[in-house]
């Protein structure tokens, strides 16, 4: 066997041709029966709904589908089989997102009644266990970042960035300062720009020089008495660490601004370097990335947001306190300068619990090992991808990278017409995920790989073999790659209807209406 056929498996994704659930309707079928009320209750209060005035009663039942229980189960299990989670594939193609292993024991723990069946407003004496977990996780993240206080309220990284922007706003307002500009970089996550904009800031975006890093001179030029802060990742999406980051933060501080460190993905840095030493005033960690909690198809999640002592008073409420005298935990709502709230209650507590268990499994040495292996795996990929025809890793040639790399197929696209999106569709034929990159595509025809610590050398080799095969196909038969996928649930999609107001359908009811109208118009 040649290298390709040895390593690329003969994959075919489950293709159930599964109908939309409304098409599985059998009038009268039932899947779950609510428990009837006790006859004595009905006798005492009547039908209950008559208490509603006529205008506030539902006139006709919602047109939900009617199925039996096994049909509902089979339908959803088929849809699950048509989904490729990190538990199934070598999920290194979604750079910036740290698709690592989510330990199964943590799932079992999160589903115990002592976690799942807690109400957030229970008496504090009845929730000492979960408050202890939250307090401990706060202490863990203080150690990892060097900052002084964490909140777990934000429901994701973007909401943590919103919290950061609100703290920056509150900080300057408390000093009577009118500052309305936040500086970020084009290789920081889109939400580093979007979330501060929601909080009312104007954005100044720095672009990289040939080394891939933002220029100190550009930063200096952007700073003024209007500078409220800096919101930046390091390393950025390129995986290149900015060695002058402490100069960046010092300059921003000298200009009167605050520095916010996007550590959504900090996987290469655990125990290696911290926000504190780089001069940041705040940072956040995505527990669903570096700290291993499952991504859940896109949440629930936590953007754990931490600040220095000076900024603690602005954090969202409540914070979890521990009384050193009694060892008792409590919820502290008494922060007069708090920005208020960014999310209901205290965040996704079951996510915090999973992250806590993950840190406890690894400890200080284990976290350092996570970072080191993630970086080793990444440089191993980099070393091998640069051997592919027409692939490159723009910026910093010959340098090592940290946890991820933004690559480019620019040359291959020029030579074959096969672009990064085409490659991604073809990769699906081998049972792996591949993502291009966030917009805008500063790196032409980009792809971003982040192998984390969770994949073996053999698995990295398999992913490389798939990439090599698609790369060869691009040169041998570009039209074939452009027509992919062939072994997926569906074939190449017609994207036009999704953006056409006459045909777009976000619900089945809209689809049914518009399809009829569209077909009538076409037949006229």
């Amino acid at each position: 066997m040649d290298a390709d056929s040895k390593h690329t498996r003969r994959f075919h994704q489950a293709r159930w041709d599964e109908p939309v659930i409304f098409e599985l309707n059998t009038p009268g079928a039932r899947a779950v029966l609510p428990e009837p009320v006790d006859p004595a209750i009905a006798k005492a209060v009547g039908d209950g709904v008559s208490r509603l005035p006529e205008a506030m009663r539902r006139r006709e039942p919602p047109r939900l589908p009617e199925l039996s229980q096994p049909e509902v189960l089979r339908h959803y299990l088929r849809l699950s089989q048509q989904t490729l989670g990190a538990d199934l594939n070598i999920d290194i193609g979604q750079g910036t997102c740290t698709m690592k292993y989510s330990p199964k024991v943590n799932e079992e723990l999160a589903r115990l009644p002592g976690m799942a069946e807690l109400h957030p407003l229970q008496d504090e004496s009845t929730v000492q266990g979960i408050l202890e977990v939250i307090n401990q996780m706060d202490l863990f993240l203080r150690a990892i970042s060097g900052l002084d206080r964490f909140t777990f309220q934000p429901g994701g990284g973007s909401q943590a960035l919103l919290a950061a922007a609100a703290v920056i706003r509150a900080y300057h307002a408390s000093r009577g300062a009118q500052r309305d500009e936040i500086i970020t970089t084009i290789f920081s996550h889109p939400s580093d720009a979007a979330a501060p904009a929601v909080a009312g800031f104007k954005l100044i975006t720095l672009h990289p020089d040939e080394s891939g890093l933002p220029r100190l001179e550009d930063l200096k030029a952007a700073l003024s008495e209007r500078t409220a802060g800096l919101a930046i990742t390091n390393p950025e999406d390129t995986g290149i660490f900015n060695p002058r980051i402490a100069e960046f933060t010092r300059l921003v501080h000298d200009a009167g601004g605050l520095c916010s460190y996007d550590q959504a993905n900090a996987n290469g840095l655990l125990g290696v370097t911290r926000a504190r030493e780089a001069g940041f005033d705040m940072c956040f960690f995505n527990l669903h990335k570096t700290f291993s909690t499952p991504h859940g198809s896109g949440g629930p999640a936590v953007g754990a947001f931490g600040v220095t002592r000076e900024l603690e008073r602005f954090l969202p409420v409540p914070l979890v306190d521990r009384d050193p005298a009694t060892g008792r935990y409590s919820l502290n709502h008494d922060l007069p300068d708090s920005i208020g709230k960014v999310r209901g209650f205290y965040g996704s507590a079951a996510v915090i619990l999973r992250a806590y268990a993950w840190v406890m499994s690894l400890g200080a040495e284990g976290l350092r090992e996570v970072a080191e292996i993630a970086v080793l795996n990444n440089n191993y990929l980099l070393h091998n991808i640069l051997k592919l025809r027409g692939a490159s890793a723009p910026y910093a040639p010959g340098e090592r990278r940290l946890e991820q790399v933004r690559y480019s197929w620019e040359e291959m696209t020029r030579e074959t017409g096969v672009g990064s999106e085409d490659v991604g569709r073809r990769m699906a034929d081998f049972g792996v995920h591949y993502w291009t990159s966030h917009h805008p595509w500063v790196v032409p025809e980009p792809f971003t790989l982040e192998p984390t610590e969770s994949y073996s050398k053999a698995e990295l080799d398999e992913y490389l073999a798939i990439l090599a095969r698609v790369n060869r196909e691009a040169y041998d038969d570009p039209e074939f790659v452009k027509g992919a996928p062939y072994e997926s649930v569906v074939h190449k999609m017609d994207l036009a209807p999704l953006d056409d107001p006459a045909r777009r359908a976000v619900t089945w009811r809209a689809y049914v209406k518009k399809k009829a109208a569209w077909e009538a118009a076409r037949n006229r």
């Binding site: 209750i41 539902r58 024991v105 859940g296 999640a301 996704s348 079951a350 499994s361 999704l498």
Partner: protein
């Protein structure tokens, strides 16, 4: 640098020393440290992170975490009447079966070509929510009701080009705080008063505050105090006459029996799907929805992902993908609509499963059963001397206010006494709504049996009767008047 350890960590495949050495050799690096050359010495963290001793054995880890969780008391082994933004409902087994499937649990940013099932499941979620809400557009879930309300109001401001929001003073406290943090810097967030006797909106105050600047009137049905607003048609007419939009915040589990938002003229709806199949998880089960009519002026303003239906190059083959992706911050950074990110997709899939299981009849039976149980509980509590329940004279769905002023007891005292009976009493309203005196918000759902409700009334009766222990002094506080004597909140 990390030394070779005797046992590789089970989560880290390449921590096997020989593998690590082979990889370093292949990339021509002498050590791991060499890979970190870019990080200046001054920025290196020296020493060992201050963390507890690791528990790499799964068995030891499980024992440790189970020990922590055992310190909690929970709503499974206690009888709970807590609501106020997170509610205990029955979770059908198939909901948990689906949301713990590895494929959905560990998927994330997959393209439609790997994750077609995820796209279809969320499209179906949107579709079933659309039927429940009677709206044609529903988003992929956002963080929670609070965020959904803040964004729906922000959308209304963009649609109308106005900058003032009218929000009932009975809006949930967390939601109000989120709305203010999210929108307050740019918009005036004005609260509208309510009728003390009924909990209904004060229409005179609303009339007085509506202006040409009003972008939206926000209305919760039921409100935080549990009341189903009866003047919805008037509120909608007044808002629309002023050129404002009506944004309704609703409890989706009520919609088998309560009118869907368009029936009373709402332009946008929002709320939380936690009741639809999510365990409470100390508030972690929250996820928000936003819905509208299928009009460009609304659709264009959604920040969220919207999954839609299309076809492929194979005739007749359907597929699901992103609708108008270029609206989003993923596409346009700060020029996108607000921002989008990881929020609550797994709960969206689960809520879809829940609605598919319940069907139209299930939602109706469930809603009716909840109303009957809640009315029974309120009436029964109202027979306890000194207790007024329901304390507000208006229809309610599953939550209602119980006023303990006539008992001389504070809510905190009553709840402590109930806790001794293994009962979590209602949410203490006395700090947030001092005008209600010593009142609590009780939540009753389908999880409660008649015996549970009888037990509650009996325990409340004992708590307020001043059983032996109470008379001894330390708890012996003077009866409080309706308006005064506010005790420290929780």
């Amino acid at each position: 640098m990390t030394e070779k350890k005797a046992r590789p960590h089970p989560y880290i495949p390449n921590s096997v020393p020989d593998v690590k050495a082979a990889m370093l050799r292949e990339i021509g690096a002498a050590s791991i440290d060499e890979l970190y050359a870019a990080i200046p010495e001054a920025l290196r963290f020296k020493g060992r992170l201050d963390l507890p001793e690791a528990l790499p054995s799964e068995q030891a880890l499980r024992r440790h975490v189970e020990g922590l969780l055992a310190k909690n008391q929970n709503c499974h082994d206690h009888l709970s009447f807590l609501g106020g933004g997170c509610w205990q409902h029955y979770v059908p087994a198939v909901c948990d079966e689906v949301n713990q499937r590895s494929e959905f649990l560990t998927a994330y940013g997959g393209e439609p070509y790997e994750d077609q099932g995820r796209f279809q499941a969320l499209f179906e979620y949107e579709s079933m929510m659309g039927e429940l809400l009677d709206f044609d557009v529903v988003n992929v879930p956002t963080y929670d009701w609070s965020q959904a309300a803040a964004t729906a109001l922000r959308m209304a401001a963009r649609v109308t080009g106005r900058d003032e929001l009218l929000v009932p003073a009975t809006t949930g406290p967390d939601r109000l705080a989120v709305i203010r943090n999210y929108n307050g810097w740019a918009m005036r967030v004005e609260t509208v008063g309510w009728e003390r006797a009924t909990g209904l909106l004060d229409l005179e105050d609303l009339r007085h505050k509506l202006s040409k600047r009003t972008a939206a009137v926000y209305l919760e049905v039921p409100s935080y105090l549990g009341v189903v607003e009866t003047q919805t048609a008037e509120v909608a007419a007044m808002a629309h006459a002023a050129g404002a939009l009506l944004v309704a915040g609703v409890d989706p589990i009520s919609l088998g029996v309560v009118a869907p938002p368009p029936q009373y003229g709402a332009d946008l709806a929002c709320g939380d799907i936690q009741p639809l199949g999510m365990h409470m998880q100390f508030g972690g089960g929250l996820a928000g929805f936003i819905a509208s009519r299928d009009e460009d002026r609304f659709v264009a303003e959604f920040p969220s992902r919207l999954f839609g239906l299309t076809e492929t190059i194979v005739p007749g083959e359907r597929a699901f993908g992103d609708v108008h992706f270029d609206r989003t911050s993923f596409h346009g950074r700060e020029h996108g609509k607000e921002f989008v990110g990881t929020a609550g997709a797994l709960w969206g899939i689960t809520a879809g499963v829940y609605l598919a299981l319940m069907g139209p009849q299930g939602m109706r039976e469930l809603g009716q059963g909840i109303m009957q149980r809640a009315q029974y509980a309120a009436a029964h509590l109202g027979t306890v001397p000194g207790v007024r329940a329901p304390a507000l004279d208006a229809p309610f769905f599953k939550e209602f206010v119980v006023d303990f002023d006539g008992t001389g007891r504070t809510v905190a005292e009553v709840n402590q006494a109930l806790l001794a009976h293994g009962i979590f009493g209602g949410v203490d309203l006395s700090a947030r709504f001092p005008e209600l005196g010593q009142s609590a918000l009780f939540c009753v759902t389908e999880v409660h049996t008649k015996e549970d409700l009888d037990r509650l009334a009996e325990a409340v009766g004992e708590a307020v009767a001043g059983k032996k222990r109470r008379a001894t002094g330390s708890h012996g506080v003077a009866p409080r008047s309706a308006k005064g004597g506010k005790r420290r909140g929780r």
